[in-house]
């Protein structure tokens, strides 16, 4: 079973072979490293950019305007906060020219905590990303979705932001989460597509498996665990957290439905609505800071449209509103949702008597 980072790499390969990707670029994206997380090893069109995030986004916009198909990377989303104006412009290109120009670029960037990244390698970007009108925003939680969402992002005529939950990059898929065409055997796959450390890295060439196309539709959620009592709406790293908490809750007889949103914009409102109408209780979970948070948008819409369906106050479980995520485990754990936090929210919500 491929890991998420292998899945991304395979999608980029398919993207450049079959779907017109012309450039995969960013800091340390080209040889010899192939990305801070190995995500671009062996990609033919990959190249190293100057250390300049504004330049990276600007280059991607320019390439996209000129009919190329760029996949650009910001090495950590923590370093994209000086590019919000350019991201807004990319999202506005089609609209402000009233349909004259298109800007089909993909911007990928690792997000979130869970690797002890301290203050400036632990940021989330969902609040920022969902504020960018004109962009589509996706965030996979497993290798198969990572593969299929990347291919959908690549062929999309709009700018698409691809948020990579960094804590999940090395996690393997569960059964059913295969990349179509990957060899069954992990070791075999690794031998084919993982660049051996050390040695002359710029000489190495991957041997790609025969990969099939898979387009996970942007805008479609996935019910990763059906349940009857409480709905959790989440994405990325917190899907696994929520599933863990749901397992625990099941022991007490609480049956939690977990929705992996996968696309943050446009998002699958039907999936949320259907689930809330069934469970009547809902918790929104994400890692971003809790003031002016995307989960608050989902919660607001739920309240506006489904007020009388709710048998308990809807809840947000999110990151704390502090200037950063501290390095010490004690600090990181206190700053972003953990399994225990989610479980506590489930229990409170499930136990609520209307």
């Amino acid at each position: 079973m491929a890991t998420m980072v292998q899945a991304i790499r395979m999608a980029l390969h398919v993207g450049e072979e079959r779907h017109g990707v012309t450039d995969v670029f960013g800091e340390d994206i080209g040889p010899p490293l192939g990305g801070a997380f190995t995500q671009t090893q062996g990609i033919k069109t990959s190249w190293n950019s100057p250390l300049d995030e504004r330049g990276i986004v600007g280059m991607a916009i320019g390439l996209a305007l000129a009919g190329q198909r760029p996949v650009a990377e910001i090495q950590f989303c923590d370093y994209a906060f000086n590019t919000i104006d350019l991201l807004k412009l990319a999202g506005a290109m089609h609209w402000s020219s009233a349909g004259d120009w298109k800007c089909p670029m993909v911007l990928m960037t690792p997000v979130g905590a869970g690797i002890r990244g301290s203050i400036y390698h632990s940021h989330s970007f969902d609040a920022q990303a969902t504020r960018l009108a004109g962009w589509k925003i996706v965030c996979p939680s497993n290798p198969r979705d990572a593969y299929g969402l990347m291919l959908s992002a690549i062929v999309d005529p709009n700018p698409v932001m691809y948020l990579m939950p960094k804590a999940l990059l090395r996690v393997k898929g569960r059964p059913g989460e295969e990349v179509p065409g990957e060899p069954g055997d992990d070791k075999a796959l690794s031998k084919m597509i993982d660049q051996p450390p050390g040695g002359d890295r710029s000489k190495w060439r991957p041997e790609w498996p025969k990969l099939e196309d898979l387009f996970i539709p942007i805008g479609k959620a996935s019910i990763v665990r059906p349940g009857k009592h409480v709905t959790i709406v989440t994405y990325g790293r917190d899907v696994l957290m929520a599933l863990g908490a749901a397992e625990e809750a099941a022991k007490d007889g609480t049956d939690v439905e977990v929705i992996d949103l996968r696309s943050l914009h446009p998002y699958d409102w039907d999936a949320i609505k259907t689930s809330v109408k069934k469970t009547n209780r809902v918790i929104f979970v994400n890692e971003d800071t809790e003031i002016t948070n995307f989960g608050e948008h989902l919660l607001r819409r739920t309240v506006e449209e489904l007020f009388y369906e709710l048998h308990a106050p809807p809840k947000l479980v999110a990151g704390k509103h502090v200037p950063g995520i501290g390095l010490a485990d004690s600090l990181e754990h206190a700053s972003v949702p953990q399994k225990a936090t989610i479980l506590a929210a489930i229990r409170e919500t499930a136990a609520h008597v209307p």
């Binding site: 120009w101 446009p266 409102w269």
Partner: protein
């Protein structure tokens, strides 16, 4: 600062310009000037909310537009202009009436359907990328289209990228980004980086804000060809642009060109949009030169101006009657495909 041409120029671009070319240049300069004056009048008469434009830059902007390799796609030139680009767009052959439409923010405005300020052009079929308000962002995007230019026709293309912006704006990091990304050794890009220096940013004089004597010097550490010229003289501008473009087209390397220009009606309507007497009027000067050289008569020049004037006055009356955009049109073109279009809350 006086006009000097680089020692690097080639192809004998210093040869005299033909009378036909000079007259064509003059005609378009008049047209561009009359357009700007019409836009200002519309603003003053309440037929628009805001004016910003390029009167005083015709002697540079018109030659630029004439020299553009106009077309669609990376075999042709890309233009990343700022809000003073009307002379260039007119020289490329755009209809001035469309500029009035944008001024009046009508639904018929082809550049933004009533969304954007006047002189914020967008012409996909001619590679004119959308002009946006934030100063200098175009300099970060220009290397992207330039890389596409470089790849076009298997590397044999002659299309280049042209980016313009003002003097004050060069303080933004994006200007440095453009210098850096276009001059990487072994990865040089065919981009003509232009700075139109009118010695002001709104109310703030050049003096006291710049450590560099000439902005064009900023290209030097990057091994770039650089030049500063008098943009108030269309012959000098034309020659300089031709030489610089020729270099960029042929060598596929960047060139930094600083053009000294006038701000003939001040910064924008926010500062009154009144004629500034102590700035050089490139059109008046050029006209006099053509008259002195007997290439045109005063009467003929006046007729040209009067004709454009009447045309645009008539057009402005018509434009006034054209419909405004519909409120619900705010949802149009959010996405290039159907997803999310018309969906107020971002649902699929």
């Amino acid at each position: 600062m006086t006009a000097t041409l680089t020692p690097e120029k080639k192809n004998g671009s210093h040869k005299e310009l033909s009378p036909e070319l000079l007259l064509q240049m003059h005609d378009t300069m008049v047209k561009a000037r009359v357009l700007e004056e019409r836009l200002i009048t519309m603003y003053k008469q309440g037929d628009g909310y805001f004016w910003i434009g390029g009167p005083g830059e015709e002697a540079f902007g018109v030659p630029l537009g004439m020299l553009v390799q106009k077309g669609h796609g990376p075999e042709y030139d890309y233009l990343h202009l700022h809000y003073r680009g009307s002379p260039t767009i007119m020289a490329m052959g755009a209809d001035p009436v469309d500029s009035l439409r944008q001024m009046k923010n009508t639904a018929s405005d082809p550049y933004s359907r009533g969304r954007n300020f006047c002189c914020h052009y967008s012409i996909e079929k001619w590679n004119v990328v959308p002009v946006s308000s934030p100063i200098e962002v175009q300099y970060s995007m220009a290397p992207g289209t330039a890389l596409a230019n470089k790849r076009a026709l298997g590397g044999k293309g002659t299309g280049i990228t042209i980016v313009t912006g003002g003097d004050a704006g060069t303080a933004e990091g994006d200007f440095a980004t453009c210098l850096i990304w276009s001059s990487r050794k072994g990865h040089e890009l065919p981009v003509l980086i232009i700075v139109t220096n009118n010695l002001y940013g709104i109310s703030t004089p050049y003096e006291g804000q710049h450590g560099e004597t000439k902005i064009s010097d900023r290209g030097k550490p990057f091994g770039m060809q650089t030049l500063t010229v008098d943009g108030n003289d269309p012959e000098v501008s034309y020659q300089a642009l031709a030489a610089a473009m020729d270099y960029v087209r042929t060598e596929r390397k960047p060139f930094l060109l600083e053009v000294m220009v006038s701000r003939l009606y001040g910064h924008s309507s926010a500062s009154g949009a009144n004629f500034v007497a102590n700035e050089t009027d490139c059109l008046a000067k050029f006209e006099q030169k053509l008259i002195d050289r007997k290439l045109i008569t005063r009467e003929r020049a006046d007729t040209i101006r009067a004709t454009y004037n009447q045309e645009l006055l008539d057009a402005s009356k018509k434009v006034r009657e054209e419909p405004q955009p519909k409120p619900e049109s705010i949802w149009d073109h959010v996405f290039a495909d159907t997803a999310g279009n018309g969906a107020p809350k971002g649902s699929s």
